[in-house]
């Protein structure tokens, strides 16, 4: 099998990789925003609960969570597809990290922003929605890109719960004939093609944000 044929064969798994990454973001972003905002505002028992949920998702090992949810949920009578479990676990894990960026960004905003909003007669919710969140989300954009890369790379793990993503395809091809160098170079190259542009873009954005902050 030629190197190009291997690449094309691995590409057959791209659909699953892309689906898990996209669905993962759909879990991660709302979770990060809601959990981050709640942790910022909540007090007392509600704050403990929110913190516990966030810590559960970000302090656990993703691969272990993936196995645990995939195999343990059915024993509790919850049946979810592999894609759903994969996207949910990866998404909530990255979302847990993201929530800390949201909270940190909200905390670092100048108090005058909130006071000015309230003085203009906006409700507390409108101040959050129209003034605080837009600034916080802009400030965390570089972190968001880095976390998106982590999520894309994390999708390799779904090959372990038998989803036919790019990594799983590589394992399948490796059963057809002994060519580890070709197959695993092609696999690494596939992810490099996917993530390298995002890495460079992230670095670029980070630099632009750094100079803007310095000004």
């Amino acid at each position: 099998m030629s190197f190009f044929a291997i690449l094309r064969s691995i590409y057959e798994g791209f659909g699953i990789t892309a689906a898990v990454a996209t669905l993962g973001l759909l879990f991660a972003i709302p979770f990060a925003v809601i959990a981050g905002v709640l942790q910022h505002f909540a007090t007392g028992p509600l704050r403990w609960i929110v913190t516990a949920v966030i810590e559960f998702w970000r302090s656990s090992s993703v691969i272990v969570l993936l196995y645990a949810f995939y195999y343990t949920l059915p024993a509790f009578g919850i049946f979810l597809s592999g894609i759903t479990v994969g996207a949910m676990v990866l998404g909530f894990n990255i979302g847990g990290y993201g929530s800390q960026s949201v909270r940190a960004a909200l905390q670092s905003l100048n108090k005058g922003q909130r006071e000015a909003g309230l003085a203009l007669g906006l409700s507390r919710f409108d101040v959050l929605r129209l003034i605080e969140l837009p600034q916080a989300i802009t400030a965390m954009f570089p972190t968001f890109i880095n976390q998106a890369i982590q999520l894309i790379k994390g999708t390799t793990l779904v090959s372990l719960i038998a989803l036919t993503d790019m990594t799983f395809r590589a394992k399948q091809i490796s059963e057809l004939g002994y060519n580890p160098v070709g197959i695993y170079s092609a696999l690494a190259l596939s992810y490099l093609i996917l993530c390298y542009p995002v890495t460079i873009f992230g670095r670029h954005v980070e630099r632009r944000f750094a100079t803007r902050k310095a000004r």
């Binding site: 810590e55 090992s61 691969i63 195999y71 024993a75 790379k153 390799t156 695993y184 696999l187 996917l194």
Partner: protein
Amino acid sequence: MNFNFSFAIEIVPRVLEGIGNTVMIAIISFIGAAALGLFWELLRRSHATVRPVVQFVIDAIRSTPALVQIYFLFFVLPYYGVTLPALLVGSFGLSFYYSGYMSEVFKAGIDAVPAGQSEAAQSLGLSWADMIRFVILPQMLRNVAAPLGAYSISILKSTPLLAVISVPELLGSALDVASDTYRYAEPMFDVGVLFLAMSLVAVAGITQLERRLGLTAPSH
């Protein structure tokens, strides 16, 4: 519902058999990643001509998944006649993956040492190696301690990746129990709880250590 809590508790000792390997992998990988990361960073700074090459290597390491790097080492090394224990190959894989991140930690740590320090060292006639060893490194270590602590926890949480190349660490021994007993739910539940507990203990320990050393995480 067929989740059996008493079975989940009964198999804990068997799952725990892997904990020694988990800790060993985490320690080897952390040391390897820090050493290689520092090497990348010093290489990146050494000459203007090698800088873009090293930068590409670091970005490439950060743009490929850890699992893929571990598979690569595990399957490609034997092809070239290098056969090492899976535990060692896996630890090298994790070291390699995290070295990309460590290099950025060292970069930030060195950048935070004021430029006057290296200028003073040069004007005193110190060689490049002596300047790094006696002037830059000691000051840099304080800057990198907190982020290195954070990565040590990430590495601990990545050790179960080695189960895929059949290293008998915690997840590996849980999978063994699962295939012996045909029950997956309980061993996977156990290993999930164990890892959550280990990582929370590690976070608490590192926070204590940072407080004792008077370190705070850099603000970026």
